[in-house]
């Protein structure tokens, strides 16, 4: 089964390099560059051809089965949720601002992974966000308060 998935991964990479090679041909060239020996398409062509060749070799040549031992299937859901949480953090960061979004991300992350010591959760999240914010303030790196906070408090 793992061998089949491995072949599927190799095939996906082969397809990716084929797509890359196809789009390399779509790179716009100025008319004076078209006859040049080396232009904006040249390097992508070389990489694309090498990638297709190696991916094809990996797909064709016999290979050992890959062991996925150590992966606990019951932890797939928390991992997926954590990825979704990270993506949500990216979506909400501009709206909630650094402090609120980061604090919520950390608290949700701790809870998601099974931490139930609520005081520790609040202290750790507040400490991390506070230290980071202080460092950024010291280094004079501006962190926006977020659209919603700006709108609510008119800051």
């Amino acid at each position: 089964m793992n061998l089949l998935i491995f072949r599927a991964v190799s095939l996906t990479l082969l397809a990716l390099f084929c797509i890359y090679l196809y789009f390399s041909g779509d790179i716009y060239l100025d008319f004076w560059a078209e006859d040049a020996l080396f232009h904006a398409r040249s390097f992508p062509y070389v990489i694309g051809i090498a990638g297709v060749f190696i991916a094809a070799l990996l797909t064709i040549l016999p290979t050992k089965p890959v062991s996925l031992a150590g992966i606990d299937t019951s932890h797939i859901l928390p991992a997926v949720l954590l990825v979704a949480l990270t993506s949500a953090f990216g979506l909400l960061l501009d709206y909630l601002g650094f402090i609120v979004a980061s604090w919520l991300f950390l608290v949700s992350g701790f809870l998601l992974l099974g931490e139930r010591a609520y005081i520790r959760i609040v202290v750790c999240a507040s400490l991390l966000v506070g230290i980071f914010w202080l460092l950024m303030d010291l280094l004079e790196i501006y962190l926006a308060p977020g659209y919603w906070l700006e709108w609510l408090f008119n800051v």
């Binding site: 100025d30 080396f38 990638g51 990996l58 990270t86 991300f105 931490e115």
Partner: protein, 492 residues
Amino acid sequence: MFDGLILGFSTVLSGHNLLLVLAGCAAGTIIGMLPGLGPISAIALMIPVTYGFDPASGMILLAGVYYGAIFGGSTSSILINAPGVAGTVATSFDGYPLAKSGQPGKALAIAAYASFAGGTLAAILLVVAAPYLASWSLSFQSADYFMLMLLGLCLVSAFSSKGEYLKALLMTCFGLALSTVGTDLTSGIQRFTFGRMDLIDGISFLLLAMGTFAMSEAILMVLRGHDSKIDDLKTSSIKLCRDEVKTIAPVIARSSIIGFFIGVLPGAGATIASFLSYGLEKNIAKDSYQFGKGSLKGLAAPETANNAACTGSFVPLLTLGIPGSGTTAILLGALIAYGIQPGPRLFVDKPEIFWAVIASMYVGNVFLLVLNLPLIPYIARVLTIPRTILIPSIMFFALMGVYLVSFNTFDIQMLVIIAVCAVALRLFGYPMAPLLLGFILGGILEDNLRRAIALADGQWSFLWERPVTLALVILTTLVVVGPLLKYVLKRR
């Protein structure tokens, strides 16, 4: 030369300057630990602080910041597998597994000793050989750079774990392909941006490094559940036994020399030096199977070479006024801001600055060791934090590192996609290091190939016209064809 060194040491060892070295090392270490804020950012942030000082004191402070930031970068690589700068990527290959195996103190101590030894040996080489090396480094042409980088890429693939050669080569191509995303700086043409403004500047190194290492590692830690060794960490001794010292001593000597000479070459820098020395040590080691699993040699080699290359990069700056790396370019800017023009005349016109910078390298390395060794047991305790708290914290650290560079939330979504792909690839045994190295070197590789072809009037003869290039071509061919033939024959 000795008069100059005495002058340099007398400048550095004054109370005021000693304090500046100490402050520089401490500030650099703290800033360097934050992903996204490597030596370049650390020095850039500290330049305004130095405006009130005389040029020698200012340069002493900045040199301290430089070494501190490099060491700080290694700390986050070793402890949480989050290399904030390209030069510390190779450090994480064995540093992180060693830390994870319950020896974070030892891993950090080896990094500190290796950095100290690499920096000090390179400083000695700098004093002895700087003028000769400066002219030698200028004789390197685009074709030589192109072949040197190609050799570096092939070495990393060839010396990857058993049976992973083709996978490593494919990942190198993947990294090279990712490096072509964005605007081609020579022609100004956009490539693979698909009309998105966010991709015009390409994918940032930090984004890829955090996605393939820190974020994917955090997700894998969740997937592996409670088998993670991080729960078992209780000790963080920094003591090395005699056998361990014997093991790493020759590695440090070899890597210092490699690192220094690569560092002297403009544009080559700490990244290539660390990868090349790692590859070399893996190739010559009898216990090469240990590499990637917490080998002491695998940690000492890149860490030494990294620091030696940083010192080596001062050679073209101080002797010719040519910055060999991004960091030395910032230092050049600082020198010019002080009204000093680095170059062959610096040695004659401003000997106190020339020698003070060199003396500060010795003193800075000693301070860094003295400052960091007692702190290592405390820093190492990061890994004893429960995984329920540590994993989201690592992710937050990586997310902020990426966000602070661009202030663009699109990068966070890219980070998530890259991390998920990296997890899938890592589960099926595809190594991430060649991908990252291919990405880092892709742009420079293309530029040098383009220049070499243009200089050779569109002919490929540049590959065999010069002995240096020809030697590198032969070496690269052997490195590529050897394992490939072995792999194909073995599979039959």
